[in-house]
């Protein structure tokens, strides 16, 4: 037992609670970090990876087949119909786009606020952002109907002299999401460059060396390159930060600018952003916990302390979402407007009461388990509990969209939504696409940012080893 460990054990419980746990456990060295993270990419493809791809690739193909069927036949193959003209497509779009937010929050906002614990999770979370946005983009692109006309969304001159409706939040969405995706790709790729160069330098095969060499853009790690890199990374972090707020705020405008009771409520923008971060962190944990269980030494980098912090963010954002739900309910009642009141009455007690109950339970009640340290530090429990936000955030969007539309102002026009098999298969397929992309990422790119983790090691501090006063 080391001297330091012996000293810690002598401390009282309170004293232990004010000690900051190290960000990297087991005194892992810089050399170990490079060789272990690179080995995940360099070693022979493991069996579990092939088995996983064996499941996810067919699901991806299912998604593509459904999309091909839809393009060949028409949007009518979805269950969308009067009065629920927006249904699973927009539900799934918002669900996936929300998931991406945790990645940008971790990589940009936690970078600007100097949260050093972000270093071991930012790469995977950012990758997840991109893959989630890819899944999200499918839905509105296909929902336009004639997908080959989707380019009409771009404000470029066309033969018909048609201009976009710039007053429509749906068009703002196009700009918001495409900007978000572009900046996220740049941010992610910029962060990858030094690590790609590490892999390039370690490669033994010529083809790999060439491929990683091209991707590393000639990185040599000189002083000048690092200065440029750090400036670029800071600028991209600064650009990404407002995007975290703007994208989901604009998504919320799709609903909140309308006059539909249940949609038009002013708290939507921050509430959507909080919900997106909530769902995004749940997804980060959903994929990181199994990844670390497979590559066990990663527990020294993505420690229980990291998981604990992410659980706290889930608890916080879940509670903010709960605050927004209650505020909506309260103001719907306080407004005295019978239509507002009816909208929320139907949500809670109407035909979709089960979706509303599921949303409340998954998003507000289940995360309260994270008040207890035991549930934040037991990986199995964490993984089980974060499935509730994953489900709950889907139900939230379903409740907002489908439940509201089933009961509009004219009772004679009321009707239920019934998903078609294409709806179900496309949604399942997007999970396949998301997981396939993530598996490819794990296999071919360093899933943890090596050089940033090295920078948080105690020996990276220039004053390391100096006597303390």
């Amino acid at each position: 037992m080391s001297e330091a460990t012996a000293t810690i054990e002598k401390l009282s419980d309170e004293e232990k609670q004010v000690i900051r746990p190290p960000l990297v456990l087991n005194k892992r060295t810089m050399g170990w970090i490079s060789s272990y993270i690179s080995s995940i990419v360099e070693d022979k493809t493991p069996t579990w990876w092939w088995v996983s791809m064996g499941i996810t690739v067919p699901l991806t193909l299912l998604c593509l087949a459904c999309l091909a069927y839809l393009i060949a036949t028409g949007v009518g193959v979805w269950g969308n119909n009067h009065p629920v003209g927006w249904a699973w497509d927009i539900t799934n779009f918002v669900f996936w786009i929300g998931i991406g937010h945790a990645g940008t929050l971790i990589s940009a906002i936690l970078f600007l606020t100097r949260q050093r614990w972000r270093t071991s999770i930012n790469r995977a979370a950012e990758a997840m952002t991109l893959f989630a946005v890819v899944c999200a983009g499918i839905y509105p692109a296909l929902h336009v109907g004639r997908v080959w006309m989707a380019w009409f969304l771009a404000p470029v001159p066309n033969a018909n002299g048609i201009w976009q409706n710039f007053r429509s939040p749906l068009l703002w969405d196009v700009f918001a999401v495409s900007t978000y995706f572009t900046v996220s790709v740049l941010f992610w790729y910029t962060g990858l460059i030094p690590d790609l160069a590490t892999i390039r330098d370690r490669c033994t095969s010529k083809i790999k060396k060439f491929a990683y060499g091209v991707m590393a853009l000639g990185w040599r790690g000189g002083n000048r390159q690092w200065r440029h890199y750090e400036k670029a990374y800071l600028i991209l972090a600064g650009l990404s930060t407002p995007l975290v707020l703007s994208v989901h705020s604009v998504v919320s405008f799709d609903f909140a600018t309308s006059v539909i009771p249940g949609w038009h409520t002013t708290i939507f923008p921050p509430y959507f952003v909080a919900g997106a971060i909530f769902g995004g962190f749940a997804m980060v944990l959903t994929i990181m916990i199994p990844a670390c269980a497979i590559y066990k030494p990663l527990h020294d980098l993505v420690t229980i302390n990291h998981v604990d912090k992410m659980c706290k963010i889930i608890l916080l954002t879940g509670s903010i979402v709960g605050y927004a739900y209650l505020m909506e309910l309260f103001i719907a009642w306080y407004s005295g407007n019978p239509f507002e009141r009816a909208a929320f009455w139907y949500r809670a007690f109407g035909p979709y009461w089960w979706a509303y109950a599921a949303m409340m339970f998954c998003n507000v009640i289940a995360p309260q388990m994270f008040w207890f340290k035991f549930f934040r530090t037991n990986l199995l429990w964490v993984w089980i509990i974060v499935q509730f936000p994953n489900m709950g955030m889907w139900f939230e969007r379903f409740v907002i969209i489908a439940t509201t539309l089933t009961r509009d102002f004219t009772p004679s026009a009321w009707g239920m939504f019934h998903p078609s098999w294409v709806d179900v298969c496309t949604f399942l397929g997007t999970f396949g696409l998301f997981t396939t992309l993530f598996l490819l990422f794990i296999r071919f790119l360093p899933m943890i940012c090596m050089f940033e983790v090295k920078a948080v090691l105690p020996e990276a501090d220039p004053h390391h080893g100096e006597a303390h006063h």
């Binding site: 609670q17 004010v18 100097r114 600018t257 921050p270 103001i331």
Partner: protein, 396 residues
């Protein structure tokens, strides 16, 4: 780390205040006499002017409590050195509870739903029992009891730690904070709904609590900058508070300037876009007649000016510059609260009344006097907080 060793006095010496304290008390007394005399002739104007001044200072104190809660709940390092001043600000909340008393006597003039002639309004009847006097006053009492207990208890533990440096106070305050945060959100939101949104009981917005919160936390930061700079000017906080701390506070001021604008824009844009008369009434009143000038000034002054000033790095590290921006933002916060409260009275346009200023002076001088009186009761920063060395040695 010897170069960072604090070498300035740890406790505030009243010699720095001297006659100014008596001046504050005298101003407060004169201002109160004047506004009470004014209330006799124009009680409605007094009610609104007083609510405006009360709200301005209440939001700052609530913001102070919020930052104490954030500090403990996130186990922050950087803010240890400035935490005592935030605690001192938060501990003015009981004083705000006392200063709330004049509003009780003019309540029906402010909150129209209390007027007997409105009792038959079907919309009001729909809001039973929320808008009933017993529930309204009960809620107000609850808010102040909570604010008082949370602020005083957190500060008491912090001061106790100065003597023995036991980490149990840190751990206990952390737990206390976790219990307080949800209640803080509820109290701030419903206080904002009751006292400000309730000025027009027909109007509603789910964003309202968040909007008031945004203004509160930003203005509390500005007051913090001014306090810390003033105390540094008197020779305190030498080698304790450094440009690094100002830099962080400056960054937070920038972040919350943007947050305020984001929330304000979100609320305005959604109401403007949907154009439902029962909601637009709030902004119609504030965007027409001479109120339009103040609303526009708010957009430019509360967002664009501080945003552009706080964006570049160097300014945030210079206390004098940061103080100038803080004063500017606080003036804008006065304007913000003014535009929230007074249009409910002067529907035809801006009418500046001497009681607006007198009420600000009365409440402000009272709060400042109590603050100064208590400033020397405890060390100016938590002397033996376990995270103090890291906080002093902060590097951005």
């Amino acid at each position: 780390m010897s170069e960072h060793a604090p070498d300035s006095p740890q406790t505030f010496d009243y010699k720095h205040v001297g006659g100014r304290f008596l001046g504050l008390v005298a101003t407060a007394i004169v201002a109160f006499i004047a506004i009470f005399a004014g209330a006799a002739s124009n009680p409605t104007q007094f009610a609104f002017s007083y609510l405006f001044a009360f709200t301005f200072f209440l939001t700052i104190c609530m913001g102070g409590l919020f930052w104490v809660l954030v500090h403990h709940s996130t186990d922050a390092e950087w803010s240890v050195v400035v935490r005592r001043q935030l605690e001192n600000m938060a501990c003015l909340l009981p004083v705000m509870g006392v200063l709330f008393i004049p509003l009780i006597f003019v309540a029906p003039l402010l909150w129209q739903w209390m007027q007997p002639e409105n009792a038959q309004d079907p919309l009001l009847q729909e809001k039973w029992p929320y808008l009933t006097p017993w529930f309204f006053w009960g809620r107000a009492a609850f808010y102040f009891v909570f604010f008082t207990v949370a602020a005083v208890w957190l500060r008491a533990n912090s001061v106790l730690q100065d003597t023995d440096g036991a980490p149990r106070y840190t751990v206990f305050n952390r737990r206390l904070t976790f219990a307080s945060l949800p209640l803080f959100a509820v109290c701030l939101t419903f206080a904002a709904i009751d006292w400000l949104m309730g000025l027009d009981y027909h109007w509603f917005s789910t964003m309202w609590g968040v909007y008031i919160f945004a203004g509160s936390v930003l203005s509390a930061l500005c007051v913090l900058v001014l306090l810390i700079t003033a105390l540094r000017g008197l020779g305190y906080f030498q080698n304790v508070v450094t440009p690094e701390h100002f830099h962080i506070i400056g960054k937070l001021m920038l972040a919350f300037t943007i947050f305020w604008a984001y929330i304000g824009f979100g609320q305005y844009m959604l109401i403007w876009y949907a154009n439902i008369p029962e909601e637009t009434i709030y902004f119609l009143r504030r965007n027409t007649e001479s109120w339009q000038i103040l609303s526009t000034a708010l957009v430019v002054g509360h967002f664009f000016v501080p945003f552009l000033l706080l964006l570049p790095n160097p300014g945030k590290r210079r206390p004098a510059f940061l103080c100038a921006v803080a004063v500017w933002i606080l003036v804008m916060h006065v304007l913000d609260v003014y535009v929230i409260v007074l249009p409910a009275l002067h529907k035809a346009g801006v009418v500046v009344h001497w009681m607006d200023f007198a009420c600000l002076a009365a409440v402000g001088c009272t709060v400042a006097a109590v603050f100064l009186k208590r400033l020397g009761d405890a060390p100016l920063w938590p002397l033996r907080d376990p995270r103090l060395p890291e906080s002093i040695a902060l590097k951005n």
